[in-house]
């Protein structure tokens, strides 16, 4: 049943990602390079609404909040390397995954290398590095029954010692103020507006967190673990779990959507150098994501809505890594 749940989550997620062109690499990069905040606002809207949605779901016992422990080295180093990598690869974890289904050969390569390095970092030849820093992980006492376990990863709520509801409503309120109080870069050419895209991500995230929880994985949408799982399923005959099925679902869902809208095409860059970048980018993303305890989707769409400090920190470094590599590759615009 967990495979079915994962697959359904992925199918719908793939549809939303493809139609909405949801890519956090673009979101961060365009903010700086193109002075374009369209995709950034999509992400933030999803986060703000999800803060409230997850609190409600936890209140009703459908899920338990489960923010990741804080590991400073992991979040900073892993986050930064991941940020560098996604620019080289031409897409973040979700962007690369859904574009595989559109026929982008660079995404095929980046995705595969991403998966291999994620697997290597969690269970393979790079895992000693991960184990070496795992001792630095910090958990705190849960200050609410909404959290899973007696101890949990630190969040804005636990460190300020306020109820998760108060912290959540305030934080969401601040995000809404930014979203609707500032100018949004227009993109009338897009099939979906930013509000629609951001809102459509929310039910996917909610169903994902619930169905993953009942499948034994008390967490929401993620990408990295799924790739590791798929590769270990191929390499060592490990059974496919919820997250692996989610990735398959994303690729299939995005593929059907792309085909339906006639956007599937085999795309090959003219310069071979681009493939080299895709490989290096994929490797940095695979290592960085595992080291940071999650990729942009895990942290952005599951961690930050739970106000996890680990996710906030990792995300800041995703952005810094992204902006650094944009400067290196594209110079001043």
């Amino acid at each position: 049943m967990s495979i079915v749940y994962g697959l359904i989550t992925g199918l719908v997620f793939g549809f939303v990602l493809q139609r909405g062109r949801v890519c956090f690499n673009s979101a961060f990069r365009d903010l700086r390079m193109m002075k374009d905040n369209f995709m950034f606002k999509v992400g933030l809207l999803a986060i703000a609404v999800q803060i409230i949605a997850f609190l409600a779901m936890a209140q009703f016992g459908l899920i338990q909040l489960n923010p990741k422990p804080l590991n400073l080295v992991g979040a900073i180093v892993g986050g930064y390397l991941f940020g560098l990598g996604m620019v080289l690869a031409g897409g973040c974890a979700s962007g690369t995954t859904y574009r595989i289904a559109e026929g982008n050969t660079t995404s095929w390569l980046a995705g595969l290398v991403y998966g291999l390095f994620a697997w290597a970092t969690s269970a393979g030849f790079l895992s000693p590095i991960t184990k070496a820093v795992s001792g630095l992980s910090v958990k705190v006492a849960s200050n609410s029954a909404l959290y899973l376990g007696e101890t949990t990863g630190p969040t804005l709520a636990t460190v300020l010692n306020v109820s998760p509801w108060i912290a959540g409503l305030v934080f969401a309120g601040l995000i809404f103020a930014y979203l609707f109080g500032t100018k949004t870069t227009p993109r009338d050419t897009a099939a979906w507006g930013w509000v629609k895209t951001g809102l459509l991500i929310v039910p996917v995230a909610m169903f994902g967190f619930w169905s993953s929880t009942v499948s034994g994985r008390p967490y929401g949408l993620g990408i990295t673990g799924g790739w590791s799982n798929l590769l270990s399923a191929v390499g060592t005959n490990t059974p496919i779990n919820w997250e692996g099925a989610e990735i398959l679902g994303i690729i299939i869902g995005a593929g059907i959507t792309a085909a339906a809208y006639k956007e599937f095409k085999l795309r090959v860059p003219k310069n071979g150098k681009t493939f080299l970048y895709a490989v290096i980018g994929g490797a940095l993303m695979g290592f960085g994501a595992v080291f940071a305890g999650g990729c942009n989707i895990g942290h952005f769409l599951t961690g930050i809505p739970q106000l996890a400090l680990s996710s906030i920190l990792a995300s800041i470094f995703f952005v810094l890594g992204n902006w650094t590599m944009v400067r290196v590759l594209y110079g001043k615009m």
Partner: protein
């Protein structure tokens, strides 16, 4: 009326955000009134290039579908 572009960029096959970057750079270097033709096959660029070019003050003359997921965009430099 067939407009002859002053300059043509073939960005087909290129990864995100290369088509957008090359377009913006080309527009910055061209003279007012000249026409830039950009050939792309990336759906996101089909949305972003016209949007950002218009926002930068240029005039998007046309976005023509020339094949499956392939477009030809004509932009007049401001």
């Amino acid at each position: 009326m067939e407009l002859k572009p002053t300059k043509s960029l073939d960005e087909r096959g290129e990864v995100c955000p290369v088509p957008d970057v090359d377009t913006k750079r080309a527009l910055n270097k061209m003279n007012s009134g000249e026409i830039l033709e950009v050939l792309i096959d990336y759906p996101l660029s089909k949305e972003r290039i016209p949007s950002n070019s218009t926002r930068d003050g240029h005039e998007v003359l046309s976005v023509e579908e020339t094949g499956t997921s392939e477009w030809r965009i004509l932009i007049k430099v401001k």
